[in-house]
Symmetry: C4
Subunit: 309 residues, 4 copies
């Protein structure tokens, strides 16, 4: 994995956006007006290659503080939108150190606060924290190690998705917001490599790495009888994927039951949608969704104000 | 399209109702007691032809202010009733200029406020507004241009309706409140004309016009793998259609699964129901629903008080 | 219909319970402590025949005031438990005059207040009220006229029940709380007698009477493509029936989909359950449900306090 | 049944945890800071046999007070998570007397308060309480008498589970959190022994004992057309089982409908999961769930503070 290519990609506004170099002393000191000055600057959407190296020069500790703030918001959104319940978690690659990631200590996403976010090595070792970690943190490290392009990961047990994890009927994207799950959604059966007597949990790094191998270059992998892991280049993208994957699964299931023929998205539609404007984290359509989800979850005051307000 | 025939149809109380000529200085100044004086006067339900010309004389700028107020209420209702989420939108033809329509700037319906409503040309150009618009505003303009009888449009992605957009099984009205979707609900597949590589979004006026052609003279068109567009002569009618279309789809799907034979509404029942009293925007049954939906959405204070209170 | 047999049956605490003769000046004056003195006295559960004549002597105007209070509570419960939405209604035979019934003016059940309750003749004429009535009030009068044993009626459009109204698959009671729908649930198709061009609404007394004929001696009748009407000897019983009928329908549908054989309730089980202790309106199990539903709906303060508190 | 083996198993923190000997005068006096001193001490997870006898020495009346507090929390959680509604109940074996159990008086779980908890003999006789009991309390006593290893029981009517109680299709665990229902879930049909004319309720101790015989050594028994009873060694375990059993049933049903082949959990997976770390009541994963559920139900202040806060 190349450190350089990941170094300063802002996990919030996407791999091509960046944060201005406002000096933010600490998360506790982040008032809305201060954060307002740290608004995203519109990136050049046509220049994917140039951006990362440019961003290196601007990376500061405020990236981390804003990242933590957004990660808390993502936790609350996923809880409020019923993607996670007492269990499930969301992480983000560390903005300054691609060999580390940020993840809450062992706490339900609905309760996660700024002080709960912990830094981990890719092997799952906490940095300067002794509180109990999530048992399944190895899902995150396994994927970050295997996929330099990935900056955010969600693990969840959505009821609508789970049937496809135990059935030979394959999950497919059938609605435009389901395109984000990708054309291929592999199923990882822990029993294939680790035998028929596990508790199904990803409880060590070897299992995390095996899961990442099954994910391969896709955006989502189902975990048989357990849930899914979703991976994306930014936090916004992985939240959107995790929110709409259950809806896509539900619509697909219902359409199958109608008895007629079902038309899924074409490969071209999937590719165009994933690369299209509403997925990009710094577009109005993306900001609209962040605002909507965060307001509903009661954490809108953790977000920087929207441009144009 | 004849301007005259649309000129002063009040988008709120329907094409045959009107607003008394209270002079309302601006939306911000609308107090409940002032709005109370602008209550609908019962139209002659048997005289469709006579009303429009009569209404011309009464049209004032207060029509626009009341229309905006109702449009905000409609946004909040559709969000609260789970017809729309972060995405989806509702518009209304401009009460004074049928070549323009009113639609929120790019914001989730649950957050739309009076100041968010923008005026657009039928081609989707904003009038005096520089804030980001909805990418898919062309759905609205396309329909208003093709259908002079239509004064309000909803675009949404309801999960209950979506299965019918990707299945060869056709959606049909089976419950009395589902009659409003009409006897025929065509499916528009963007790929038919725009090829297999779109992102499924209606992102230019050519696509909006093609969608309107598929809608033709019906009340609702499904958009394959994406959602639906609903069109009606008044805002009340389109909100009701959008609220009950998912229920009708759900009941139809469940009935199909029961395995027996299913009896849909007859053509006569659909026609009678659509023309019947509870659909009319200025009847007690309609006012009852506005009050119910608006209270639940927490925006009842934006509505004029109900007669008899 | 015999007036005598219905005269003083308290619609709240059932045909065999009664209210002590506390002098209650009016609904507005009913404080919780005053109402506490008007608690039900345990009836003799084995003596159905003796009770009514005894009750005649105790009937006072406070019966009506308490009835109205409970009817408001029933409206709110049915709304909160998703049995009704903007539409649907619940009525009660008048405690002092079995030829009249009590029903809200045209207002959504979630908004009904004490002042909204109106007295109607069995033909649907309001007594001293000029506010718009429900169009479909004839459902209630039709049933009260045909069934002297019935003291409360609900009309609703529950999504879980509706599929059975349009399918040849018959609804059956399969869970113990579903027993209240009865062994036989007929389907009334308005088209059978009134032709294929109605709007499906019960909009005159002839249609109400025809519906009651199809209901016959049962507890519930489905209305094709429209909803259901439920009838019971007391308000508690009809609320319970209306709350659990959708659950029974949902469980039955799901069981049918499992593909195996389904065992419904036996005739003996239905009869025993309907006559059993938890259905009786004045038992602890019934009081428990009233308290639960009313608290959730935010109207517990309208109920008299529970014995033993 | 051996009294000794059950004597002082703390129903809250599991049969191997215990409470320090803080002197707690009464439930009303339990402030959060006082309760904080009564935190569980980490048990030896490898030593199942040694713990119980050790615990005897530490058993105090504070065990009972803490148990009651947790039992109230369990009531509220089951109501908030839609496992129970107006009906259904949860009990716990008495911490000091295994021949008694604790259960609310006849009240809906959502309303249960500390003062509502009553002590019963295994035959269902209340100790020093004259308020109406649950009619079906015999479910609890029947199971406690037959199963010395069981310390907590839930009875509920979940809609997702009920279809399997009336179908010949057997419920099976298919998701990791469904493992807690066990490899075998028997169905008890009250008609088998008590004939075709019951009201399906478990209304005497003979029926409770027959139900317990059908449960046998399993964790959950379905009651035909009625609901289920779940049994576990601790309150945490039975709450978790009751919360996830409906999800498992729903996922299984949906997977069956997909039409392909379905892979359930293996026997080894079920055994490992049930014996694994996240089920144990005193692990971080368990505490995380208690905190999550209790906060959502609005009763977090009844729980002792979490370690590490």
């Amino acid at each position: 994995m190349s450190k350089k290519s990941n170094r300063c990609a802002s996990p919030v506004i996407g791999r091509r956006g960046f944060i201005t170099a406002a000096s933010l002393a600490g998360a506790a000191a982040l008032t809305p007006s201060v954060v307002a000055e740290a608004m995203p600057i519109a990136p050049d959407p046509t220049n994917k290659a140039a951006a990362p190296s440019k961003l290196v020069a601007d990376a500061t500790s405020s990236d981390v503080e804003l990242a933590i703030r957004y990660l808390v918001v993502a936790n609350r959104i996923l809880a409020h939108e019923n993607v996670v319940d007492a269990y499930g978690h969301v992480s983000m690659r560390h903005p300054l150190n691609p060999e580390h990631y940020l993840l809450a200590r062992s706490r339900s996403p609905e309760q996660v606060e700024i002080g709960d976010i912990v830094e981990y090595t890719l092997d799952g070792e906490p940095i300067n924290d002794t509180r109990p970690p999530y048992l399944e943190r190895f899902i995150h490290g396994g994927i970050y190690a295997a996929r330099p392009d990935i900056h955010a990961v969600v693990h969840a047990h959505s009821e609508e998705v789970l049937p496809f994890s135990i059935s030979t009927t394959k999950l497919r994207p059938v609605i435009h917001d389901g395109a984000f799950i990708g054309a291929e959604v592999p199923v990882w059966d822990i029993a294939d490599k680790f035998g028929p007597d596990t508790d199904l949990l990803v409880s060590n790094i070897a299992q995390g790495r095996d899961l990442a191998r099954r994910l391969a270059g896709n955006s989502m992998v189902l975990m048989r009888g357990h849930g899914f892991a979703a991976a994306a280049p930014s936090l916004y993208e992985v939240v959107r994927l995790a929110v709409y994957a259950p809806k896509n699964a539900h619509v697909f299931q219902a359409a199958l039951l109608l008895g007629g023929k079902v038309k899924p998205l074409s490969k071209g539609e999937i590719a165009t949608r994933v690369g299209g404007p509403s997925l990009k984290p710094d577009t109005p359509a993306a900001m609209r969704a962040w605002e909507y989800w965060a307001r509903r979850a009661g954490v809108a005051d953790l977000l920087p104000p929207r441009p144009g307000k």
